[in-house]
């Protein structure tokens, strides 16, 4: 008659052997906290012959609201001090802003520890592999952030490494990330990798020759980046307000801020 009958159910009314809940399976909840949001924004990276340009807009959104008009997505990484004056690497993160910031701070700490232990800054190649490991370590509760890492490789050439949220990565000539990636990437394919560009009058069908691929100059890339973002701002509501550009050369990292449409 009584389920807590002492003879039936052991010695007493201890909390530990209180009967389990009959209905609803273990752990079932009607409402569940969603730990992720998308804060919009877009990033872009292009590697040149002896430089890399990393760029991102500065808008932070949630839904249709603009939370902030100046929230940088592009960061110097691994300098000796907090002001990053001697940094050699740049990381851009876009997606869920809180995860992006946490990821940035972890990678920055790791690069600082590396510099402290080895007495030299981390190479892009090493940092790129480490970033992949960090992302993959959280494979089952990922950082919801699309990261791009930029710097100069051992030969002084521009290097861009792009990632997905769980750590798959590859070195590329250029990459767009975030909300307007699908708008910017085809433009980059055409303008940086010269896809679908042919030598005029070189022939018909298979005889048609592709345009020769040459690395772009710094001035050309800066204009390309601005054009890419102006296009994205026009067609994507989550992109706008400001354009932040980091130019990495052997002389250091130069930061450029330009206005974008604020509508």
């Amino acid at each position: 008659m009584f389920s807590q009958n002492p003879i039936m159910n052991g010695p007493n009314y201890s909390f530990n052997d209180a009967p389990p809940k009959a209905n609803a399976p273990e752990g079932a909840r009607q409402h569940r906290f969603d730990p992720y949001t998308d804060n919009g924004g877009s990033t872009l990276a292009i590697a040149g012959a002896d430089f890399t340009i990393m760029a991102g807009d500065t808008r932070l959104t949630s839904g249709y609201s603009i939370n902030s008009r100046y929230h940088p997505k592009v960061f110097k990484i691994g300098g000796t001090t907090a002001d990053q004056h001697d940094a050699t690497l740049v990381l851009s993160v876009v997606g869920f802003a809180a995860d992006g910031e946490a990821l940035k701070e972890r990678l920055d700490t790791i690069c600082k520890m590396y510099r402290y232990r080895h007495g030299k800054p981390m190479s892009v190649k090493a940092c790129a592999q480490r970033l992949s490991t960090i992302l993959y370590q959280k494979r089952f509760f990922p950082y919801y952030a699309y990261a791009i890492l930029g710097g100069l490789d051992d030969e002084g050439r521009g290097a861009v490494y792009s990632y997905d949220p769980v750590g798959s990565y590859e070195r590329e000539q250029c990459r767009a990330g975030g909300a307007a990636a699908s708008l910017i990437m085809p433009f980059l394919d055409n303008q940086v990798n010269f896809k679908n560009q042919y030598v005029p009058g070189s022939g018909e069908g298979h005889a048609l020759q592709e345009r020769e691929r040459n690395p772009l100059s710094r001035g050309a890339v800066e204009i390309l980046v601005k054009d890419a973002f102006d296009g994205a701002v026009e067609r994507h509501i989550e992109v706008g307000d400001g354009l932040q550009m980091m130019v990495i050369t052997k002389n250091g990292i130069e930061e450029i801020l330009q206005p974008l449409k604020r509508d």
Binding site: N5, P19, E26, F33, P35, A98, F141
Partner: protein
């Protein structure tokens, strides 16, 4: 019938069903806040030339019920920073206790009684001491530090799937004594802006505040009186249109001279004339 003392006063299973003891279990999943219960609505704030103005009404709602009408949602930290809480009130009270502890620890580590006495006797230059408020010497937590702390706290809790269901504004001064205003939400997303608003305020008050302070430069031109007027106007608009709001509110002005907090403000010069022209909502048929 079981007449033994162990069964006395217990509901009968054949009448009430087996007792659900899952509440007492200390193994298995944790019972984290999965939705807010008693909630506060918008917090709004705007920067001006030498500080920040922040306001929130004094209502804590239980769903659509105006449950507690005298809840203070602005909290002063170390006499130099104001924290405004939107969202769950019990989580706010937990954070309030936590910040009290933090403030006490900070005050012990940066004991001002000896050093303050030493500086007044040794230095004859009054300007060196006037830049600091008595309870916040350089080295103790400023608004920017506190905001970072709260961001880490809330992000940690979201990682544990045990969020503190709040959207928080932090108003004060940063390390270089410039006005500081920033926000952090239950997922640990943090950002700054010349003006900020949580909840309904993001839709209703933020556009009004951005008319006056679209950029940091615009905000740096605003006087204290202008900033207070803008905030009061926004609180009025929020009371007109946010059904979970109250005409009694708290307002605080943070400058380098400290915090001036008023917790019993009443909305002034309301005009509901506009309501006459509204047609077509709810049960109205004509």
């Amino acid at each position: 019938m079981d007449h033994r003392p162990q069964a006395w006063g217990r509901p009968r299973d054949d009448v009430y069903g087996a007792y659900d003891g899952s509440y007492f279990q200390n193994s298995g999943p944790k019972f984290a806040t999965q939705s807010p219960v008693v909630t506060g609505t918008s917090v709004i704030a705007i920067k001006f030339k030498d500080g920040v103005v922040i306001a929130a009404d004094n209502l804590a709602s239980y769903g659509s019920l105006a449950r507690f009408t005298n809840v203070k949602r602005l909290r002063v930290f170390l006499d130099t920073t104001v924290v405004g809480f939107g969202g769950d009130v019990s989580d706010m009270q937990y954070l309030d206790r936590h910040l009290n502890e933090l403030a006490i620890d900070e005050s012990y580590e940066n004991d001002t009684t000896e050093t303050a006495a030493a500086t007044t006797t040794s230095s004859s230059d009054p300007s060196s001491t006037s830049t600091q408020t008595p309870n916040n010497p350089a080295g103790s937590l400023n608004a920017a530090n506190l905001h970072k702390y709260l961001q880490k706290l809330l992000y940690r809790r979201r990682n544990d799937f045990d969020p503190l269901w709040n959207h928080i504004l932090v108003a004060g001064l940063d390390a270089s004594s410039k006005p500081f205003l920033a926000s952090v939400d239950l997922r640990g997303t943090a950002f700054t802006s010349p003006s900020l608003a949580t909840g309904f305020g993001a839709a209703l008050a933020q556009p009004i505040m951005r008319r006056y302070a679209a950029t940091e430069e615009d905000a740096a031109k605003l006087t204290r009186e202008q900033a207070v007027d803008i905030i009061k106007e926004c609180m009025k608009v929020l009371f007109y249109r946010d059904a979970r709001s109250l005409d009694k509110y708290s307002i605080a002005v943070v400058t380098k001279d400290g915090v001036e907090l008023k917790e019993e403000e009443q909305l002034e010069k309301q005009s509901w004339a506009f309501a006459e022209r509204i047609h077509g909502y709810g049960t109205q048929t004509v």
